[in-house]
């Protein structure tokens, strides 16, 4: 599980453009955490579709959602950046070819956009189902 988590971080690390002497580890963490937070919200909508009702009061949903984005962002940053874990991950995958890195960047971009797409689709369908 931890390994998969690290691989996904590396995908996002390959996605970001870095200037010389710039690590960009924080931005990779930001994008990864944003994508996962959005996926969690999308999953909530999907679960609500399955149940066919609004599982949470909209205001509670909003409050919890904000909490998820902020806490998730901070936890990701702490795990990957502050602990120095990102350096181990980068070193571990340093032997990857340019082609592989490009592929990882495409996967990360797909995950990032896909999470919002899923969020929008699930939200739209949920709204149509509950409110018509």
């Amino acid at each position: 599980m931890k390994k998969i988590f690290d691989i996904f971080y590396y995908y996002f690390y390959c996605l970001i453009l870095k200037k010389e002497n710039e690590a960009g580890e924080e931005r990779a963490s930001f994008m990864f955490s944003t994508a996962t937070s959005t996926l969690v919200i999308a999953l909530y909508f999907l679960l609500s579709i399955v149940k066919g009702e609004n599982l949470l009061n909209p205001r509670v949903f909003f409050f919890l959602g904000v909490l998820i984005y902020v806490v998730n962002g901070l936890l990701f940053s702490r795990y990957f950046v502050k602990s120095g874990r990102y350096q181990e991950i980068i070193e571990e995958y340093s032997n990857k070819t340019m082609g592989e890195k490009r592929l990882y960047a495409i996967i990360a971009l797909t995950i990032f956009i896909g999470s919002f797409l899923l969020f929008a689709l699930a939200g739209y369908n949920f709204s149509r189902l509950v409110f018509g």
């Binding site: 970001i16 944003t34 909209p58 909003f62 939200g123 739209y124 949920f126 409110f131």
Partner: protein
């Protein structure tokens, strides 16, 4: 540039034999890690180290760590920061970065969640999806390109916000809306 007041206690067989005090002006941006040597000229209280710039004096692995190592030979050294302007400034920048990071995440979350709230209350429409699209483009640009893209993304965000408030969202909904806005949600 910062000033560090140092006290050097020379001990022999556990007894304090001599104590030297001096101030060292340090440049935290310099790569040179200062080691106590003849260049320090620290014999007189208040004597400044002149050109003896020290890299990260207060940092872990910096000069004070070297000083700690010296204590194994019967000496000890204490550092007391008198003025740490750049360090203080660096601390503020780090703090600002942290605030910026939290604010960025919060802003992203709030934008996405305002769309989510619209879904949850049945007040969503095509403009909601457009909002999500704009948010994704902005977040992806900042994430991929970095702070260099920030002014452009911010300017774009402001223009979009003004356009949206000036009736752009209503215009999108009235032309391409998928929900009848005249109906009151349940």
């Amino acid at each position: 540039m910062g000033c560090l007041k140092l006290t050097y206690d020379y001990q022999e067989q556990g007894e304090k034999n001599d104590s030297l005090k001096w101030s060292v002006w340090v440049n935290p941006e310099s790569d040179f890690l200062g080691v106590v040597d003849q260049q320090s000229h620290g014999n007189e209280p208040g004597d400044r180290g002149g050109n003896n710039y020290i890299g990260d004096v207060l940092g872990v692995g910096g000069w004070l760590s070297e000083a700690t190592a010296l204590s194994a030979y019967g000496t000890s050294m204490h550092g007391k920061p008198l003025y740490t302007g750049p360090k203080t400034w660096a601390g503020q920048v780090t703090r600002l970065n942290k605030i910026g990071k939290v604010a960025g995440n919060l802003g992203m979350g709030l934008t996405a969640l305002s769309a989510g709230y619209s879904f949850a209350t049945g007040t969503d429409n095509t403009s909601t999806l457009v909002d999500i699209g704009v948010t994704v483009i902005g977040a992806a640009t900042i994430g991929i390109v970095g702070t260099a893209a920030l002014p452009f993304v911010a300017a774009g965000g402001v223009i979009y916000g003004v356009w949206s408030l000036a009736g752009g969202s209503n215009w999108v909904d009235s032309n391409w809306g998928y929900r009848d806005t005249t109906k009151v949600p349940k």
